[in-house]
């Protein structure tokens, strides 16, 4: 069965400093992995996705994630945080079902201090 574990429930950074949100996955085969972001009172927006192409995936708003099979990780990074990055971030794996519905991690709340 597929699953994801987000290692931090809350991360706080200062504006302009790097962001690292950690995610480990468990999958019996090559997974499809995603990061979604949820701003307050908003829906879930796709940041980026990995679907067995390049291991370094670039997403929107300067975010990127690297798929590391040896470490079963898919950490989300950004070189320089912006105040508008404050939100909840979800690491997601696509299940093995016929339509491949999504399995969400518990989420990491990112706070950005001025």
């Amino acid at each position: 069965a597929q699953s994801v574990t987000q290692l931090d429930s809350h991360v706080s950074v200062s504006e302009g400093t790097p962001v690292l949100l950690r995610c480990n996955y468990s999958s019996s085969y090559s997974p499809s992995l995603f990061w979604y972001v949820q701003h307050p009172n908003k829906g879930l927006q796709l940041l980026l996705k990995y679907t067995s192409a390049a291991t370094l995936v670039k997403g929107i708003n300067g975010f990127e994630a690297e798929f590391k099979k040896s470490e079963t990780s898919f950490h989300l990074t950004k070189p320089s945080a912006h105040m508008s990055d404050a939100a909840e971030y979800f690491c997601v794996v696509r299940s093995g079902g016929s339509q491949g519905n999504l399995i969400f991690g518990k989420g990491t709340k990112l706070s950005v201090k001025p």
């Binding site: 009172n41 829906g43 879930l44 796709l46 696509r94 339509q99 519905n101 999504l102 969400f104 989420g107």
Partner: protein, 118 residues
Amino acid sequence: EPEVTQTPSHQVTQMGQEVILRCVPISNHLYFYWYRQILGQKVEFLVSFYNNEISEKSEIFDDQFSVERPDGSNFTLKIRSTKLEDSAMYFCASTRGRGAGLNTGELFFGEGSRLTVL
């Protein structure tokens, strides 16, 4: 840019009442989903729908829940007799479908309908 729209954005209801949450998926999408997020908890899969029938459902999706695509555009989630524990944010999502180049697994989500059961 096309988007998934959901109504209402917030509904308050009494325990035992029926609730219908509505969604308009993106027009050329073929697979539709409902997820929910209880406050402070994970986003959980409820049900997926394709070709006018349920294709997959979770343990949460019991007999109190039903889904329907009554016309070519709306996709509804009905809770027959609401319970306190049904209070959550309900997200509708859609995706284009299977086949080469069509389904990269990306789901497009609506902004959610917050249901409060008193």
